[in-house]
Amino acid sequence: MAKPEACRYAKSHEWVCLEGGTAAVGVSDYAQGEMTDVVYVDLPKVGRKVKLGESCGTVESVKAAFEFYSPVSGEVVAVNEALAKDPALVNRSPFVDGWFFKVKPDNPKESESLMDHAAYQEFLKTPAAHGSH
């Protein structure tokens, strides 16, 4: 589904991908690697209003728990039910099968405030990238 090159990224390593009026969200490949084996993903319910930067989920790995901060504002319209059965999808396929949820965005232009793929790759080279996740 989401191509890494077409995504926008938050400094906390979530991606958002706009596609035909909805925005899919998940965590980056770097983030899943840092999390190590994911064993539970706690997602917001369909219908919940989320805000950009708002904590709205938890990822539990064997090693630790990680907050998920929404990289987009809007209403949750779908969640990835497959993650309940197979949370390791986040590790195996962070951009395709391991997406978290979909949002009807309040403002499609909002994601322009986030990093594009090239900027995110540069960000990963800086010490600031390696604190939160």
């Binding site: 690697g33 190590t36 084996d37 064993v39 539970y40 938890t58 539990e60 790995s61 064997v62 090693k63 630790a64 728990a65 390791a88 590790n91 010490p127």
Partner: protein, 365 residues
């Protein structure tokens, strides 16, 4: 960020080559995982895993009074060790706690090897020196001279026995002095995973070679390099204590549920009277196993409740790959909490349903 230089084991270059994720563990730069904690955990439970445990310390004890000295500083009965045998033991501090948990091997008459934890190696050695005053004992902290590799899992002894046939016939808790690549080394049938296996103690300069050799030969039986991540999930499933977390200078062996390592009949030892009191009058807190009934992963420090009453906190906790649920253990205050008792565990402000279970969580079939 810390600017302290991390210590590296003699196997560091192999870890880099294998693409390990390295972390700071008590000042040592060690692999937390290579391919993934769950895969490595499974490799050890089903086949074989290799662990670099070179950070652990080795103290050699020799001299006419070596047995008397070891009897004094240990809870377990070192007098029962004949050459070639090993035992798990606690070092009581005489103040109701434990200096460290160790494995003592008898190498020969009056010759012993004590394997100590990395973070406590210097503390242990200083403690040994202070307790050996006036005794005919030579203590040598040779932690920097040796590397250590744990080979663990149902296929471990078979793999090692291919090159070291004597290991094939060794029962658990035996110790062998032998030559590895022509150098004086030791193999003990010990470990920290709940599986069969052994640990190599070899001179540092050949440790990398031993590691590479075991891994190359072990690949055909599914041997995987394993990091600290699965070392923790494996040992917690097996109910093993982590010194500094589950047991320390403030908690003794009986409170920790390890009364079996305290042998009163052997005679006097440091802290014996305190242990006797705990044995005869009982303890007011004890290590208790907890299994989550809800989804979630408890963490060290999570509070445990019965109803609204807080019983204690978990000292170790994680996701159990074998059971597929969150598990933990910690000291619960008051009367013993029988297995099956409904509990709850506080995690990020929420209460998750849990129950008390008997330790260990996992026993090898």
């Amino acid at each position: 960020m810390s600017t302290t230089t991390l210590r590296r084991t003699p196997i560091y270059e192999s870890h880099k080559r294998l693409g390990a994720k390295l972390v700071d563990f008590h000042g040592w730069e060690l692999p937390v995982q290579y391919e993934g904690i769950l895969k490595e955990h499974q490799a050890v439970r089903q086949r074989c895993g290799l662990f670099d445990v070179s950070h652990m310390g080795q103290v050699f004890v020799e001299g006419k009074d070596s047995l008397a000295f070891l009897q004094k500083v240990n809870t377990n009965d070192i007098g029962r060790l004949v050459p070639g045998k090993a035992v798990y033991s606690h070092l009581p501090n005489g103040r109701g706690g434990v200096v460290d948990d160790v494995i003592v091997s008898c190498l020969g008459p009056g010759r012993y090897l004590v394997v100590v934890n990395a973070a406590t190696a210097d503390k242990d050695f200083a403690w040994f020196q202070s307790q050996a005053k006036g005794m005919d004992v030579r203590l040598a902290n040779e932690s920097d001279r040796y590397g250590m590799i744990a080979v663990q899992g149902p296929k471990a002894l078979g793999l090692v026995a291919a090159d070291y046939p004597a290991v094939g016939g060794m029962k658990r808790f035996c110790a062998l002095e032998l030559e590895v690549f022509g150098r004086k080394s030791f193999i003990t049938t010990t470990g920290y995973t709940g599986e069969d296996g052994c640990e190599f103690i070899v001179p540092s300069d050949i440790a990398g070679r031993v590691w590479d050799d075991l891994l190359a030969k072990g690949r055909s039986c599914g041997t995987a390099p394993c990091g600290l991540g699965c070392r923790d999930t494996l040992r917690l499933e097996a109910g093993y204590l982590l010194y500094g977390q589950d047991i320390d200078d403030e908690h003794d062996s009986i409170e920790a549920g390890y009364g079996w390592v305290v042998k009163f009949e052997k005679g006097d030892f440091i802290g014996r009277s305190g242990y006797l009191e705990h044995r005869d009058k009982g303890v007011t807190r004890r290590m208790t196993g907890v299994r989550l009934l809800d989804k979630g992963v408890p963490r060290p420090g999570s509070a445990v409740f019965t109803g609204e009453k807080k019983l204690g906190t978990l000292t170790s906790a994680t996701f159990s790959p074998t059971l597929g649920v969150g598990i933990g253990m910690g000291y619960m205050e008051g009367a013993a909490v029988p297995p099956g008792t409904k509990l709850s565990v506080e995690l990020y402000g929420r209460r998750l349903q849990a129950e008390a279970v008997a330790l260990p969580f996992y026993k090898k079939k």
